[in-house]
């Protein structure tokens, strides 16, 4: 049950990326700064952080593949990068006390890794020809900042789903940390 709700929530975030947020992003209104909305990726990172890195890996792979098929020029890049970031996010839950601020920092860091990695793959395969200075300054850094901000409601949503539909696991997680 919880899994289906979670999948539904992440799919909803994925749909927002291509439609609603495309009209809110600064590049739509003629700005040079580009926001690449990656709410579903944030969602995957947070799921992995709150639950389990294996789960993050699987969710990351599925949603990355979906992105590749729907929008991509070539299949595989997002499946790989999102799965990697999903796994990576889970590694942090062992190191730090889990709270909203840590969750947002981890999301920002992983978003940066994700954006840089996907840009590097696209550049390697000649899908894009944007130079790295432009990519970093105009695409990656603004996207990291905005995605980290927007990750807060995503964090609340994922946490609410876990509390509502899987109270046991969240409690276990907290007690483990506080020992």
């Amino acid at each position: 049950m919880a899994a289906w709700i979670l999948v539904g929530f992440l799919s909803f975030l994925f749909l927002l990326e291509g439609t609603v947020l495309q009209l809110l992003a600064p590049q739509t209104w003629g700005s040079d700064i580009v926001w690449i909305p990656q709410l579903a990726v944030s969602g995957v990172i947070i799921v992995s952080l709150l639950r389990d890195r294996r789960l993050g890996l699987i969710y990351g792979f599925c949603f990355g593949l979906l992105h590749d098929v729907v929008f991509g020029d070539a299949i595989g890049v997002y499946a790989f990068t999102t799965a990697a970031v999903g796994y990576f996010g889970g590694l942090f839950s062992r190191q730090f006390v889990s709270g909203p601020i840590v969750a947002l920092l981890v999301t920002g860091l992983n978003q940066g890794v994700h954006l840089t990695m996907s840009y590097a793959w696209f550049r390697l395969f000649g899908v894009t020809r944007i130079g790295w200075e432009d990519a970093l300054g105009l695409h990656i850094v603004p996207s990291i900042l905005l995605n980290t901000l927007v990750a807060f409601p995503v964090y609340l949503g994922v946490q609410w789903i876990f509390k509502r539909f899987h109270p046991h696991s969240v409690q276990m997680f907290h007690s483990k940390i506080r020992k």
Binding site: L16, V20, L23, L66, D73, W121, V127, T128
Partner: protein
């Protein structure tokens, strides 16, 4: 040592997945003839849900835009009235010329059967990243759209179709920096048309690059650039933009022109796919020729 490497399962999994990524990406990137059916199914269903979401959003955004523009409307109205006068004069002239054209065509027995038709579509989603510029529209092969058809807005050319499924298509915009085949185009000068190729986009200057123009041609700022009818996929005379800056080409024997695109590429809502029956016939003809040659060779 070799066995210890296999013993580290995580590293091994990472290595295998990188190899898989490179293999799959190498197979699927670039120009592909068709889309496999699982991909088509996913694309169709996502596009359908996207269209449910994007319709009200576009409504709200258009409403907001109109609301913001009320102040400028009065000045614009005056300007338009002046333009209208000019337009009426022009229209009378066009009517006259059209009549003349018809008569002349009749005189040489040229029948214009193959008229362009336009398939209007709505954009439902845009790829969230800007590494590649791609838009999804809600019409597909069942509405008569084929790969490589040009896509325009009321302002001008915006791109071409790269993939179609039953009810949706992918559009690659002109601003895409990745590798795309060049578009054959004409610059309209006083002494006739000058042929060149639109290849690439300068993201800094926000201009399209038109290359391989003969060095003798006298090009000026403000001249119109349109697609060439000689291309075997694109219909002719679609407006691309105007000449903005003329420089020397890479090889010193040609000219390079920065073209200011006529269409805006942001906030695309309604777009039109241009269906040119002549080009479709041409493609069929070429395929037939190819298959005949193939059989003859065996």
């Amino acid at each position: 040592m070799f066995f210890r490497f296999f013993g580290n399962r995580r590293l091994f999994a990472l290595l295998v997945s990188v190899i898989l990524l490179i293999v799959i990406m190498g197979m699927t990137r670039g120009e592909r003839e068709g889309v496999t059916w699982p991909e088509a199914a996913v694309k169709n269903s996502v596009a359908w849900v996207d269209s449910l979401l994007s319709t009200p959003v576009f409504g709200v955004s258009n409403w907001l835009e109109e609301w913001g523009e009320i102040g400028t409307l009065r000045a614009e109205n005056e300007k338009l009235e002046k333009k209208m006068d000019r337009y009426l004069k022009l229209k009378a002239r066009v009517d006259q010329l059209q009549q003349e054209n018809k008569e002349l065509k009749k005189a040489v027995r040229y029948t214009g059967e193959n008229q362009l038709n336009f398939i209007t579509a709505r954009t439902v989603a845009r790829s969230p990243d800007r590494w590649n510029n791609r838009v999804v529209i809600d019409r597909g092969s069942e509405d008569g759209i084929r790969k490589d058809m040009p896509v325009i807005t009321h302002e001008g050319l915006i791109g071409r179709i790269t993939a179609t499924t039953g009810h949706m298509s992918d559009v690659q915009l002109l601003t895409d920096t990745g590798s795309a085949p060049g578009i054959a185009a004409h610059v309209q000068t006083k002494n006739g048309n000058v042929f060149g190729l639109i290849e690439g986009y300068d993201t800094e200057k926000k201009r399209l690059l038109m290359k391989k123009l003969p060095s003798g041609a006298k090009l000026k700022k403000g001249q119109m650039v349109v697609t060439s009818g000689m291309s075997d996929t694109f219909a002719g005379d679609l407006l691309i933009g105007t000449v903005d800056e003329v420089t020397r080409g890479e090889f010193g024997v040609d000219q390079k022109v920065y073209v200011k695109p006529a269409a805006r590429f942001e906030r695309l809502d309604y777009v039109m796919v241009v269906r040119d029956p002549t080009k479709l016939q041409l493609k069929k003809h070429q395929e037939e020729l190819d298959s005949r040659e193939g059989n003859g060779g065996e």
